[in-house]
């Protein structure tokens, strides 16, 4: 399967214009269809979304030159699904995302899959998916680029960090899924094997410090998630894990050797949903193991993340959010003291503690406005490409953001 992300940059601008025109066209057609103008068969659905954000930071850069205020945050998506039989579905989504230098709006295939349900009765279902599939990870990863499905403008960065986000998005392979209703609640399970997407520069820099002469190759990797829901989702508990393997293919005269990187994230998720409020928390451990890379010394490190989040629906169309989110890159060196001693770099590169407050206003069912503020201590999730002088980043900084999003 081809990776659409590899288009050269000068070309991608042309493609983006094309995508934008197509997007507006489909938007027009689908709203005409909804108004009764054109009738799509019930088994064919077209959906999409468009979000524009504004970000202003007191120090450091997040999605573009945000210290001067940045509109460099746009998300466009368009998907189609066709279900010719109740047990068979084809679906695909195209996505264009601009978010600072890490994402410059190239159109990529977010997912493209065939879903066949081979077993189904009133209490239990099981099926298989083949193709490029969104990684089932935590509560928010499956739809992380769809603003309407996020609890805030920016997802809790400790777990859903945008630095090296590509491997987290989707992978190409095969997934098995099933769900079953019991008297005490519903259990659903998804497990998959496939190849992660790790060939971009940001991922390389996140794992290998710099953009090296060679490149990373995704090897056969595994992912799984089990979710328990009680009372129609009043209580939701989840456990997700992934075993991601990548090899480094050295370039010419490369001091970095042909070694291996293993990445094992594990997330515990919990959510309680009442009528006017929800409480959510997720805790993650991320083990990274780097072996035989020559110039880059062997290393084994475990990162740790946790957030606590409360949302309150003041009215059915107005929702307030408070969250405290903590990321430690190395749980053996939480404050980065050893790191600072060894490298002479500031310890705050290894952690980030983020207090967030935000408001969501659903102007219409299809139109949403958001505003939020982050007060952050530490720089562990600052995008690498937006901050070339990361060692001189400010430890204490603030981020203000607004976002308007439309969906259909």
């Amino acid at each position: 399967m081809t990776n659409l992300k590899c288009c050269p940059f000068n070309k991608s601008f042309e493609i983006n214009k094309f995508f934008l025109v197509a997007f507006i066209l489909v938007l027009g057609i689908s709203s005409t269809a909804r108004a009764g103008g054109i009738s799509l068969p019930d088994t064919l659905q077209i959906h999409g979304f468009a979000s524009q954000g504004y970000i202003h930071t007191s120090d450091n850069n997040f999605y573009g030159s945000s210290q001067n205020g940045s509109f460099d945050f746009t998300e466009l998506g368009l998907n189609a699904s066709f279900r010719p039989f109740s047990v068979l579905q084809f679906s695909a989504q195209l996505l264009s995302r601009r978010a600072g230098r890490g994402d410059e709006g190239d159109i990529r295939l977010d997912y493209g899959l065939v879903d066949y349900r081979f077993y189904s009765n009133e209490a239990m279902r099981a099926g298989i998916r083949i193709g490029r599939i969104k990684n089932p990870f935590g509560l928010y990863n499956d739809t992380r680029d769809v603003a309407f499905t996020r609890p805030s403008i920016l997802l809790p960065q400790s777990i859903y960090f945008d630095r090296a986000r590509n491997p987290a998005l989707s992978s190409e392979g095969v997934h098995l899924y099933g769900d079953r209703q019991f008297d005490f609640g519903d259990l659903s399970l998804q497990i998959g094997a496939g190849y992660p997407m790790v060939e971009d520069i940001e991922t390389e820099r996140a794992f290998l410090i710099n953009d090296q002469a060679g490149h990373l190759d995704g090897k056969l990797s595994y992912i799984g998630r089990i979710v328990f829901e009680q009372d129609g989702g009043r209580i939701r508990l989840g456990l997700s894990g992934a075993w991601v393997k990548m090899d480094y293919a050295p370039g010419t005269a490369d001091p970095v050797g042909a070694g291996t990187i293993n990445f094992n994230p594990l997330i515990f998720s919990a959510q309680y949903n009442a009528e006017s409020w929800s409480l959510t928390s997720e805790y993650a451990l991320r083990r990274i193991e780097i072996k035989n890379l020559g110039a880059i010394p062997d290393r084994e490190q475990t990162g740790e993340s946790v957030y606590f989040q409360g949302t309150y629906r003041i009215t059915p169309i107005l929702e307030a959010l408070v969250r405290y989110d903590i990321l430690y890159q190395d749980r053996g060196d939480r404050n980065g003291d050893n790191f600072a001693l060894q490298t002479g770099l500031p310890g705050h590169l290894l952690y980030a503690k983020d207090w967030t407050v935000g408001l969501r206003w659903d102007i219409m069912e299809a139109l949403m406005f958001r505003i939020e503020y982050h007060s952050v201590d530490g720089t562990a999730w600052l995008p690498l490409l937006d901050n070339t002088g990361l060692p001189s980043s400010e430890r204490y900084w603030g981020l203000f953001s607004i976002l308007l999003s439309y969906r259909f």
Binding site: S86, R125, T143, D186, G232, G233
Partner: protein, 139 residues
């Protein structure tokens, strides 16, 4: 003053009556099932269950998230909040793992679409005798 109080009470009763007005689960008359459990109904409306036991595809119709009938149906019949269903549908729609229910604008549209779609399910305020629809009691 007395008239005002009497009027207020009347308005209160009227509002309460409209909030708790009865709804019924309605299906296309060819659906064989005679009754349905709340768990199965939830699986259908959250789009996890796609087939009737006899194999026919289930087509789910809903009103908009802000429709009072939709809110009442979610809370009183399904025992979930409308925002939970919306989240579940969004997860399916934007990850390619399912489809959302079909949204209709009015109760009349709901009635017509269910009557014309074999395997269809939806909800309506208590209906009288209607040969084109079948009411499914919830256990």
């Amino acid at each position: 003053m007395r008239t005002f109080i009497a009027l207020s009470i009347l308005i209160c009763i009227a509002t309460m009556a409209s909030v708790t007005h009865a709804q019924e689960v309605v299906v296309h008359p060819t659906v064989l099932q005679e009754q349905i459990s709340r768990n199965t109904l939830r699986a259908i409306f959250s789009k996890r269950l796609q087939n009737w036991p006899e194999g026919t595809a289930i087509t789910v119709f809903v009103l908009g998230d802000r429709s009072p009938l939709h809110i009442a149906f979610c809370k009183q019949i399904l025992n979930v909040f409308p925002y939970q269903l919306r989240r579940a549908w969004d997860r399916l729609v934007y990850s390619g793992t399912g489809q959302s229910p079909l949204e209709v604008n009015t109760e009349e549209d709901m009635r017509k679409r269910i009557a014309n779609t074999p395997g269809a399910i939806g909800y309506l305020p208590t209906i009288g005798q209607d040969d084109e629809l079948k009411v499914l009691p919830v256990q």
